[in-house]
Symmetry: C2
Subunit: 271 residues, 2 copies
């Protein structure tokens, strides 16, 4: 999906919501476990209920890998089921050099058909480049994550005066354009969004940490929005597990629609 | 596998060789492609030819993931085939928080039965801790990798005077003991091994970059060895693809045995 198409979907739906398909076999309603593929059945119901409200889905690969090869079959079926116009993010936080990196990218982009993949910058440019080689696809580099541990290394101050995550952004901006590169910036760091926007004014930001992790949507939007919206805000647990019962998809629909309503309001009132 | 058992295997075999099972479907001999599971057939032959010379196997997960769910079945069969006393490292460079991290660890340690997993430190302590929760298993944290891009971030100088990779080591040493934590230190950085040994005198180091990447075994051993040997040195391509023909396993056997001979000599002559 091109940048233009992504922006057009966001404008059309008045939404920049990403639904994180972190489908936990231990958390889905019990009645689904009777089905031959409970994870896919759950995802199918979630997609049916939320596709009107969101512009992206983001399966976190750990929830599929825990189930072995069968889990990856559920993932494959899920990807095939997501409507074509919705942006598909493979959240595996991969990164490796040479053929290894190339094969990670090829698995995510070609085998599963993701539009984007999350990548860790720690190993440097030559561990990210294999992902850029896929010109129609997106690389979403971890910059500043939403967890407590983000302060351990990402916020370390360098000799140059920059923090590590700022250096990751300023350095990597020369590696690819804003039509191929995004950053992960956690919603719990809304105070730092203005700084990120100075370093990367045009780049799309994938923002986890809304909902269960406590990030504030309005604050993130105010500080992070740019002329193309430039934000993809993810919610996972607050939508997927809005209800533990058989009505889980109804509750999910309501939760996603409510987030989309807030986004619509913010889009109309900020720009 | 406990630290004591690992050291005992190293002493028994006079070897600290790890064979990287980076089995590339595009590089294995053509005649294997007729088999129903070419990757497993190749691995089986490599394991049969090298098990006497090495103390560890390290499949890089990218080479299996590229093949989708079927590739992970080849991985599973490979893991089941590796002799019990040989240390099994899942090289996926994972890392994530909470349940996500826990599920990555559970997939690698319990589903596939790896003894150890490589983990990226970028997200900080709470993204590594889920791996430490498996007390009988090992977490191998990327510190200083063997690729050119290692200079982009890992070698950044911090305000404290430390380089980032040094800070990763000094910080993470308090997260777990030397019976659960190892570091990846690239063989191409032999000049920095003495520095690593000051920061982490007892910790095992997993050392890639010997062979195809040009690292020097003698230099790594001289600077990196400790009283328990403390080194696991990996070679992948130079062993796996020592011959492109039907005799690939004969060539691999010879290459692995020759590396083990060098290691035996170094062990006898350094300590």
């Amino acid at each position: 999906m091109t940048r233009k198409e992504l922006i057009s979907e966001i404008r059309k739906k008045s939404s920049f919501l990403c639904v994180g398909l972190d489908t936990d076999i231990n958390k889905i309603p019990r009645h689904l476990l009777k089905s031959p593929d409970p994870v896919f059945e759950f995802n199918k119901a979630i997609i049916d209920s939320t596709a009107d409200s969101c512009i992206a889905y983001k399966p976190n690969l750990a929830f599929y890998e825990i189930l072995g090869p069968a889990g990856l079959e559920s993932l494959q079926k899920t990807l095939d089921y997501i409507p074509r116009e919705i942006f598909k993010i493979g959240d595996g936080k991969r990164g490796d050099i040479g053929n290894t990196g190339k094969y990670y990218a090829e698995a995510l982009f070609n085998f599963y058909g993701f539009d984007a993949a999350t990548v860790v910058p720690y190993m440097g440019k030559d561990s990210v480049e294999p992902f850029f080689a896929f010109k129609e696809k997106w690389t979403i580099l971890l910059a500043l994550t939403s967890n407590t541990g983000a302060s351990d290394f990402q916020q370390c101050e360098l000799m140059t005066g920059e923090k590590l995550f700022e250096h990751v952004i300023s350095e990597s901006r020369s590696w690819a354009g804003a039509d191929q590169l995004m950053y992960v910036i956690g919603a719990t760091r809304a105070d730092l969004f203005s700084r990120v926007r100075i370093l990367a004014p045009e780049t799309f930001l994938l923002v986890p940490g809304i909902g269960a992790q406590g990030g504030d949507l309005e604050s993130v939007t105010r500080h992070g929005i740019n002329k193309d919206v430039g934000l993809i805000v993810n919610a996972s647990r607050s939508i997927l597990y809005a209800s533990e019962g058989n009505d889980f998809h109804v509750a999910a629909k309501h939760e996603a629609a409510s987030l989309r309503e807030k986004m619509k309001f913010l889009l109309e009132n900020i720009f």
